[in-house]
Amino acid sequence: MERRLLVGVLLGLSVFSWGCASGSGGAGLSAKDELKLGYKAARRGYWQEALYRFELAQGKRPQDPEILNNLAVALEAVGRYDDARGVYEQALSIAPGDRHLRRNRLQFEEFYTTHVAPDDEGETKGATDAGSGS
């Protein structure tokens, strides 16, 4: 009877500790797993959770451009635009040829100059500077 109780307690403890490890993003999950969990959270719009997962993934693989890309996007989503720019730059220094990363970065810069810091823009470009009169 005592032995069965002991086995039950040990089993319960092991399940509990596994739950803690996977639920809080512990050391048990690989960077790839964290990336996947973050991706799923982002697809559902849970950007704080996504950010947390991408940060954990980045802690495990600091130089992975795909993780850095996702981290930058999540930082954008939570409104940390300056941090996002820094992470985009870091990612591009590692993988300058990554077209998804480059496109994200361009779109971020376009958003930033249009909406966040429009005062930094230069003169109105394009048509008005054409000087092509009729």
Binding site: L35, K36, Y39, K40, A42, R43, G45, W47, E66, I67, N69, N70, V73, E76, A77, G79, P96, R99, H100, L101, R102, R103, N104, L106, Q107, F108, F111, T114, H115, V116, P118, D119, T124, G126, A127, T128, D129, A130, G131, S132, G133, S134
Partner: protein, 217 residues
Amino acid sequence: MALLATVPAVVSGREVRMGLRVAPKLDLTGGERVFIGPILLEPGDEGTRRVDVSAVRELDRYVRRLLRRQTRLNLLPPEEGLTPPTADVTALRGMTDFWRDLAGRHGADLVVAASVDVEVLDRTGYSTEKYVSPEDGKTYFRQVLIEETGFKYDILLMVFDAAGALVLEEQISDFQERQPRKLDEFTDMYEDLYTLENRLLGVFVPRVVLARRYLYS
């Protein structure tokens, strides 16, 4: 085996939609009492044209309607015959007493004033435009046909507090395309101007801008 070695790694992921938050330029509670006016006209070389008078009147209506619909600010009624002591915007901007008195007369927390310069464009031609390719990151130049007929606006938006101090100044440029035959119609001169609306609202209320980004999975 050799075939396997040459197959590139499959990259998975997809584009996700997201809302990017943009904080307002002014730190407001949302229920401030706001007086709109005066809307001034930038003096031009050609004297005051009919389009100028309409631009001023329409801008007043547009700002009022936009803030009433898109914010919870308490808009105060306009003052009939309000004439600023000078038409020089630079000088007027520094006239603290004028703005303080105006705010005091109406019990306003903020006074929103503007100066508008409108240019009627009617031209067509080719232009060389710089283009950065998102595919390879290189810069290219391309010829673009420009057909410009419409109104080009330069608006200087100024916000003063109850003490008459200038708390925000925003230069906004926008262009409204018009059919050549409608260049002498001045109703709805500011309708559907995305930049103007965004910049103007962005002064007073937070906004969410929809965006798409690629995520790796």
